[in-house]
């Protein structure tokens, strides 16, 4: 039972990653590898700030801002530098690895004995693992509602149009480059937040904790789509969170079969690969387009 609660908590926290990537991968049609660097960047920033005595809430906000800057860098490389989207993300991601080591000063920072968002009296009063579930539910509810509202504004509609048909968006006077930069900033801000929360939940930040995050984020999105099929945009956002929880439960089941935690990245990739192949047979989701787009230069 404890393991299931723990998995749901992890699923909720990590769903932020999926929601962040949804903005770029699905709505902007931009395969953003930056998240693989932004996630540990958010974790490193928050952990280092907390370890230096900063208020955990401020440290978390700082992680969001730093994540947004990383997104902006990828955006500028793509829109102004005309570097293909996939490569722009990889460049930023690789650079962030060094930045993370600079921020932390070593390869990992422990938060043991420091105040975090999980160490308040209320959080401590909850049964084991329910603190993560509570935090996850609050953050996901707020973020999902904000995203739904944003996407239903004039500005949000222009953002969707940019990803859907850039030529048309431009012909209607939408500044598509600005939209792409904004989308990457918001997306990576969310991923930075996710990293900060996961670090505080785990009690440490590690320079290698970003490995495989893009696969986890994609798994949330794809599992949500495969499991729930045709949905409206708002329902899709909810499906990402549910997909993230299902993914954690799948991992739990696989680990129960006797695999070790060292096998996690292998298992993650296999789970995602299987989920992505299901639509190949069903022709439900067209996944090839965004990936092909990632290796072509910006028009």
């Amino acid at each position: 039972m404890n393991l299931i609660v723990s998995s749901i908590g992890q699923g909720l926290l990590w769903a932020l990653l999926g929601l962040g990537l949804y903005l770029t991968f699905r709505i902007l049609d931009f395969c953003d590898m930056t998240v693989e660097g932004t996630f540990p960047l958010g974790a490193a920033t928050a952990a280092a700030a907390i370890a230096h005595g900063m208020n955990p809430l401020l440290a978390t906000l700082l992680a969001i801002v730093v994540g947004m800057i990383a997104g902006l860098i990828t955006g500028l490389l793509y829109t102004k530098g005309k570097i293909p989207s996939l490569l722009a993300g990889i460049l930023t991601m690789t650079a962030i690895y060094s930045v993370n080591l600079r921020i932390m000063g070593k390869s990992n920072v422990s938060l043991l004995g420091h105040n975090t968002l999980f160490s308040g009296d209320f959080m401590r009063s909850l049964p084991q693992y329910f603190d993560t579930v509570t935090m996850g539910m609050i953050v996901i509810a707020v973020v999902t509602i904000l995203m739904m509202l944003f996407l239903a504004t004039d500005y949000g509609q222009a953002f969707i149009a940019t990803g859907d048909n850039t030529t048309m968006a431009k012909s209607l006077g939408i500044h598509t480059d600005k939209m792409i930069n904004m989308g990457l900033m918001v997306s990576n801000g969310m991923v930075g937040l996710c990293g900060a929360l996961v670090a505080q939940s785990n009690g440490y930040a590690d320079v290698n904790m970003g490995i495989g995050t893009i696969v986890i984020a994609l798994a949330s999105i794809i599992i949500g789509e495969v499991a729930f099929g045709e949905l409206t945009l708002n329902q899709r956002l909810v499906a990402v969170t549910l997909g993230s929880i299902i993914y954690r439960l799948i991992l739990l089941a696989v680990l129960q079969l006797g695999f070790s935690a060292n096998d996690l990245n292998l298992i993650s990739s296999i789970v995602l690969a299987i989920c992505m192949m299901i639509p190949q047979f069903e022709k439900v989701v067209n996944i090839r387009k965004p990936i092909l787009k990632g290796v072509r230069p910006h028009e």
């Binding site: 048309m168 209607l172 006077g173 598509t176």
Partner: protein
């Protein structure tokens, strides 16, 4: 004499600059577009028709010369900024609409053409009745598909929607780049009729590229023949009236 809306002065466009493939496509275009002009443009492939539209629209820079809108120099204004007074319908039905957004959502986007978009709720429901009524004017069942993603529409419906979107917010200049060329003859004729009706009724200023000489003569009140990057003929309504397709064809020769 009616007011000049757009002026092109000695506009030249060169592609592949600095390479062995350097080509001058527009070789000094001088053109004054007056309010109420409905100009049909004909010319062979490679004559520079699409390039002319791209230079007016701002997708391609004018390497030489100036472009004036209501007397204001817009030669270096971006494509996005020019949309405040200019609307386009592309030849490819896929280019004019956002496939995953619904017909109504697409129309809503077009009501704000060239305007800054803010973080205010989009007001789709409040506009629905107006959009449905407009869609019904196209006579192709578009009004029944308001909540369908445009990717699921037929090519004819998509082009009709693109045309509606281009005229939803009145443009100073409407550019129609062979907007019926990808459609079957019947659908094409239907859209051409609707196009002509809307332009004439609302006194829109429009430029229409076509490969059909009959269409070029039937529609519009001015005709331009482009040849080899230059304006070979610029005929007013009276001259156009007397012209036959055979006579028009002679402009293409030699």
């Amino acid at each position: 004499m009616s007011k000049a809306i757009l002026e092109l002065r000695n506009v030249k466009t060169i592609v592949n600059k600095g390479t062995s493939n350097e080509t001058t496509i527009l070789k000094g275009i001088n053109l004054t577009i007056n309010e109420g002009d409905f100009i049909t443009i004909v010319g062979t492939n490679g004559a520079g028709k699409s390039t002319l539209f791209n230079v007016i629209g701002g997708n391609l820079p004018a390497d030489e010369g100036t472009i004036l809108h209501n007397g204001k120099d817009i030669t270096h204004e971006s494509e996005e900024d020019r949309t405040s007074f200019l609307a386009r319908v592309f030849q490819d039905p896929k280019l004019g609409t956002a496939p995953r957004m619904t017909v109504a959502e697409n129309m809503l986007l077009a009501t704000k053409r060239g305007e800054k978009r803010h973080l205010v709720m989009r007001k789709l429901k409040q506009n629905m009745a107006r959009f449905t009524k407009l869609a019904a004017t196209m006579n192709n069942g578009l009004e029944d598909r308001m909540t369908t993603a445009t990717g699921a529409l037929s090519g004819g419906q998509r082009q009709a929607l693109s045309f509606l979107m281009a005229t939803l917010k009145r443009p100073d200049i409407l550019l129609l780049d062979e907007h019926t060329a990808a459609l079957d003859p019947h659908t094409s004729l239907n859209l051409l009729h609707a196009t002509n009706e809307r332009i004439t009724k609302d006194h829109l200023t429009a430029l229409m590229i076509t490969h059909h000489l009959e269409d070029a003569l039937t529609y519009g009140n001015r005709l331009i023949v482009l040849k080899d990057g230059q304006i070979k003929a610029d005929l007013n309504a009276a001259e156009k009236e007397k012209l036959t397709t055979d006579q028009l064809y002679t402009y293409f020769e030699d």
